[in-house]
Symmetry: D2
Subunit: 345 residues, 4 copies
C-alpha cells in the first residue's frame, strides 16, 4: 500500500484520478490539493463521491505533500507543474505529471509553444508515459510525463505503421474529434452547454499545443522528422476522442498485412484493442475505460490507409494512463485498478 497525493485535485482530471484510486487495492490517497476549494469536502464539489471519501481539499505546499506521499500525480495546469515537480523528485517522491511541462524533450520547442521553462534540467530524466512505447523506461522512472489526450490516440494509431515503415510521413493527416471534458472545468463561454450542444466545429487549427508533442513522438517512431497536419474538433459529448488518421502507403501491402502488423505490434497490450475488418471504433465503446480501440481501413485504389482510434480522454487520455504508469513505476500489475468496463450506453 503506497501513499498517494493528487496535486490539483479539483479539475476533471483530478477527480478522475480519485475515482480510480479510491478502488485501487494498493493505493491510499492521503492528500488532495485545491486552492479554489480549500477546506471543502470533495463530496460537496463532486457529489458523486458522497459516501466514497470523507476527505476535503487542502491547500498545501509541494514539500508538505511530498512529506506524506510515496507518489504524486500533478494535475495542475502547465507552468504550475514545473514549479513543483522538482520538489517532489528531490524528496524521492515518484511523480506522474499530467501537464505538458515535461513532455517535450526539446526545451526550445516547449518554450515556442508554451512559455519559459523553469526546470528544464529535469527534462532529461522525464520519461514520456506511454507504456506501449516506453514501458521499460517508465518502470525505472521517477518523473513521468503523462501524454496529452490527443497525442495518445494519434500516436497509438500511427506507431505500428511508422515502425513498419509503410507510410509516407509527409502525407499524415490527423483529424481528431474530442468530447468537451478535455477543455477542463474552468468557467468559460466557449464550453457552456448552449455553445457546444447541437454544434460541431474545428478549433485551433495549426495552433493546438498538442501538435509538437504528436510530431515529437511520430518523428521518434519514424526515425526522422515528421510533421503531421493535426486538426482538432469539438464533439457535443462529455468524453472521448476519435481520431481519423490518413496516410499514403509507400509499400504494396494488403489490408490483411496491415491488420497483422497492428495485431502483432499490440498483441500483448492490456489496453489496446485492434478491431477486425468492418468494425470501427466509437467513443461510446471506450467511455469510462482505459482502452484505446483501433480500426483499420485500406483504400487500395488510392493507396491510402485510414486508421481510426478511440479513447476516453479522461481515462486512457489522462487519469487511467497515469495510474497505468503508477502501476509500472511501483511494480504493481499494470492493469490494477484499471479493470474498468466501458459504460455503454
Amino acid at each position: 500500500m503506497i501513499k498517494v497525493g493528487i496535486y490539483g485535485a479539483s479539475g476533471y482530471t483530478g477527480q478522475e484520478l480519485l475515482k480510480i484510486l479510491v478502488r485501487h487495492p494498493e493505493a491510499e490517497v492521503v492528500a488532495l490539493t485545491s486552492r479554489k476549494y480549500t477546506g471543502m469536502p470533495v463530496s460537496d464539489v463532486y457529489p458523486a463521491f458522497t459516501g466514497l471519501t470523507k476527505q476535503s481539499y487542502i491547500d498545501a505546499s509541494a514539500d508538505e505533500v511530498a512529506s506524506r506521499c510515496d507518489m504524486v500525480f500533478l494535475a495542475v495546469p502547465h507552468g504550475q507543474a514545473m514549479e513543483v515537480a522538482p520538489r517532489f523528485v528531490q524528496q524521492g517522491v515518484k511523480v506522474v505529471d499530467l501537464s505538458a511541462d515535461y513532455r517535450l524533450r526539446d526545451v526550445a520547442v516547449y518554450e515556442e509553444w508554451y512559455r519559459p521553462h523553469t526546470s528544464a534540467e529535469f527534462l532529461s530524466q522525464a520519461i514520456y508515459g506511454m507504456p506501449e512505447l516506453y514501458r521499460s523506461e517508465i518502470k525505472d522512472a521517477t518523473l513521468v510525463a503523462n501524454p496529452g489526450c490527443y497525442p495518445t490516440g494519434a500516436i497509438l494509431g500511427l506507431a505500428p505503421a511508422l515502425r513498419g515503415n509503410v507510410i509516407d510521413t509527409a502525407s499524415i493527416i490527423i483529424d481528431s474529434k474530442s468530447g468537451v471534458s478535455g477543455a477542463g472545468r474552468e468557467a468559460q463561454v466557449g464550453t457552456l452547454f448552449c455553445e457546444v450542444n447541437e454544434g460541431f466545429k474545428a478549433y485551433k487549427i495549426g495552433a493546438h499545443r498538442h501538435t509538437p508533442e504528436i510530431d515529437q513522438e511520430l518523428s521518434s517512431l519514424a526515425g526522422g522528422e515528421v510533421s503531421a497536419s493535426f486538426v482538432p474538433h469539438l464533439v457535443p459529448a462529455n468524453r472521448g476522442i476519435l481520431s481519423t488518421i490518413y496516410a499514403r502507403l509507400t509499400a504494396d501491402i494488403s489490408y490483411t498485412d496491415v491488420l497483422e502488423m497492428y495485431q502483432s505490434f499490440y498483441g500483448e497490450e492490456p489496453f489496446v484493442r485492434v478491431y477486425g475488418d468492418g468494425m470501427y471504433p466509437n467513443i461510446a465503446y471506450v467511455k469510462g475505460s482505459n482502452y484505446c480501440d483501433i480500426g483499420l481501413v485500406l483504400d487500395a485504389k488510392k493507396r491510402r490507409v485510414i486508421i481510426i482510434t478511440a479513447i476516453d480522454n479522461l481515462v486512457k487520455g489522462a487519469a487511467g494512463q497515469a495510474v497505468q504508469n503508477m502501476n509500472l513505476m511501483c511494480g504493481f500489475p499494470e492493469d490494477m485498478g484499471l479493470q474498468l468496463v466501458s459504460l455503454f450506453p
Copy 2:
C-alpha cells in the same frame, strides 16, 4: 417602420430579439448595446448573424439610445433595467423590459426577492406583458414588463382553470423543467456542457425568483391569494420549458368539460395551442416558435387535473413575447414577424 433599440443585446435573449427583428417588416434595429462587446461586430460574437447584419455593439447611454429609437427592449439584468427604463419612458420611447424589475406590482415583494427598487414610482404604469391576459392594457402601455420564462408557461397553464374556479388553489404544484439557455450566457461552472449533459436535477427549490411572479398572477386570476409549490429543474437541452402542473379539482367536471374550458379560453389566441385527448406537449414541438402548447389530463379517480405546458423559453418565454407586446403597443398585427415554424427535429 419604427426604429428599435436593444439595450443589452449580447446575451441569449438579446440575440434572439435581433433574430426576430431582422426579419420584422415594420421594425428597423438601430442600436445594439453591449458593454462587454463594445465595438465588435455582432457577427463576430454570434457568427450565425454573418450576412444578416453589419452592425456592431455600441456602448451608449440610455439617453443616447432614446434619442434614436421609437421603441426599446431592455435585455439587461434586473437592477440595471430599472436604472434606465425611466430615461426611456420620460423621452416618450416605448419600453418592453425583459428583466424582472417591473413585473411585481408590490415593491415590497420585489425588494424581498431581489433588491432595493430605484424607480418604484414607475411600477404603477407598468403592464404585465402577457397578451392573453392583458391585451388591451398592453396596447395603451408605454412600459411593459415582459413575463419571466417559467411564469409564462405556468400562468398560461393555470389561467383557464383558475378563472373557471374549478381547482383548489392550495393544492397547486408546478413541476417545471427548463433547457439551459434560461441560465444565460455568463461563464459559470454550473452551466458548462459537462456539468449539464447527461444530468438532470432540481434547483433553487422554494428560492427561485420566479416564484412571487407566478403567485402574483395566479392570485390575480383566482381573485384571492394563491401560493403554489414551484420546483424548477434543468433539462440537458438548449431551449424549452415543460411544466407539469397538478391541482385538485373542486368541481365535478369531466375531461371534456376541462378541454372545452381551455379551448374556449384560448380559442382566438394566435400563440396558444390546446392539444386534444392523448396528445401531450413536448418542448421539441415549440422549439424556435412563439407557441405555448397545452395538454390536459384528468385523473378522475383522484379528482386531480394535470396540465402540461411547453414553450420555447427564449421565444414565448422572452424575445417572442416581447415582440408580440411591441406589435400590440405599436398597432402592428400581433403575429407580425412571429410566424415562426418550430424547428423539428
Copy 3:
C-alpha cells in the same frame, strides 16, 4: 464461484448485467441467450465487450440453461419470463426476474395491467427484490422479482415518510423523469435520437405499468391503500431517473426531523445516500453506480415535503439491484461486484 446465466442477454439490461458480472469475483457467466443474435459474439453486438468476453449468444431452452447454472437472471420481456421462471425454480436454480411478471402479488392487478398470468401459482413464493425493504426474505428466496426502475426511486424516496406516518397518503404526487435507456433497445421511432434529443415530454400519464407496482409497495409501507399520482417524463440522456415527490405533511415536524428520519431509516444501507441540507440529487451523480441518492426539502409554509431521488435506471433500477439480490441470495457480501464509482462527467 457460482455459475450464472442471463436469459435474454442482448438488451440494455442484459448487457448491463454482463458488465457487472464479468468483474464479479464469485460469479462465472456460463450462458447468454438471445434469439435475435444467436451465434453472434457478444463483442460484435456490443463492441464495448471486446477483450472482455469471447462468449457468443446462444438460443437455449430454459431447461438447457438451468442444467448449467446455479443462478439465472431473466432479462426477457414480461410474459416471456413467467413462461420460463418455473422451469428454473423447479430445477433448483435461483432466479432473479427483471421483468414485471412476479412483482405484483395480486394476480388480478397483474392481469388488468399486463396480460393473463400463466404461472400465478409461483407468485406467492416470489419476493419483491428491494433489499432495503425485504432483505431477510430475499436471503431465503429462490425467486426474486426485481423491482421496476421507476418504482425503485419512488418507493425508496417515500419509504421512511410512510413508515414514519408523517404524510397524507392521498396527496402523493410522483413526477419522474427518465433517461432513454429505460425504453430498451428495440427499434422504434419514438426513441430515435432525433425524436428525443432537444425534447422533453410526459408520456403514458395514468397508464404506465409501473403505477400498480408503486401503489402496491406504498400501500404496504403505509399499512393501507395508497394510490399515488405518477407521471413519467423522458429526459434526453442515456441513463438515470430523477423523481420529484410531493406530499402533504400530517405531522408538525421540522426539516431536521425529516432528515433524521431518513438518515436513521437508511443509516446502514450500502446503496442509499441521504443528502444534507441544500444538496439535491442529480442523475449525473449516480450514473453507472448502484446508488439511490435522496434529497429532502420542507416547505413549512405549505406543509409539504418534497423528496427527490436519483438512480441509474440500468443499475440500481435494474442490473445492479439484481446483482445485489443475487449476492443476498447466495450469501456473498451485498456490495460484491457493485463497488461502482459514478462516471462523472
Copy 4:
C-alpha cells in the same frame, strides 16, 4: 401562386419541405403523400404543425398528384423516385427529386452503387440542382436532381479551388461529420438515442453512396477525373454537416489569395458565406438556415489548404436547396421563403 405536392411527405425531409412551404408566399401545398400515415393529420404525426396545417397525408398515385400540382417534390427513397418522376415530367409537372435517382449522369455508376435504373432515359434531361454551379440550367429544367447532403458541403467547399486549379486532385480528403437526421426517420437500432448519444464514430468508409456523386461533380469542376477519399462520421446532434477538407496546394499562393478566390467565386451567392481569417464554421451557426458557411486555413509549411464547410443537412442539404431550385424553376426570387435565420443556441 403555384400548387405544390410533396410525394413522400412524412420523413424528415418531407416535413422540412412542408415547414418551408407553409410560409412560402407563392406556393400552396395541395398534396402530401405517405403510405405509412395515410389518412392521418400531419399534426398528429408531427405535432409541431398543430395550427399550421389541417391537411392529412394521402395515398395517391403519381398521376393523381400530377393532376393537381404545378410542381412536385419527390421525397421518397431512391428507387421509388425513378418510378414516379417520369409520370410527373410527362404531364408537365416540374419535379425536384430529393433522392439519388437522377444525380449520377452515368447510369452504370448509378447501377454499381444503387440498383438497376428503370428510367435511365430521363437522366439526360435531369439537372444537378446546385444553384451555385448550375443556376442557368436549373431555370430551364423540368427535372432537377437535388444534391445529396454530404455532396453539397463537399462540392461547395472545393469548387473554387478546383476551378482555380490550385490543388492536387489526387490529394483530396473529405472528412465529414453529420448530425443524425441525415439517417432519416426509419426505426432502426443504429440511430436510437442511446446508440448515438455520447458516441462518435465513422461509418461506411469507402462505401457511402454519396461517394460517386462527390467524385462526379469534383471531376466536372476539375475538368478531369477526381477520386476523393470521403469518410463520413456521425455526430450526436440533430442537424448539420461539417466537412473538413484537406488538399495539397500545387500553386504558390498565400492565404489571402485563397480567401479572395473564394470570396470572388461566391461573391453574389445568397446562401454561401465565406468566413474571414481565424473564423471557422460550426453547424450550430447554420442550424435551420439555408446557408453553407466556408472557412479557410492555409498550412503554408506543409503546402496544404484546409477547407471547412458547414450546412444544415435538412435545409441547404435537402429541403432548403430544393425550394431554392423551385424558386429558380418558377421564376421566383431565389431566396423567397428561405430567409431563415439560424436558430442559435
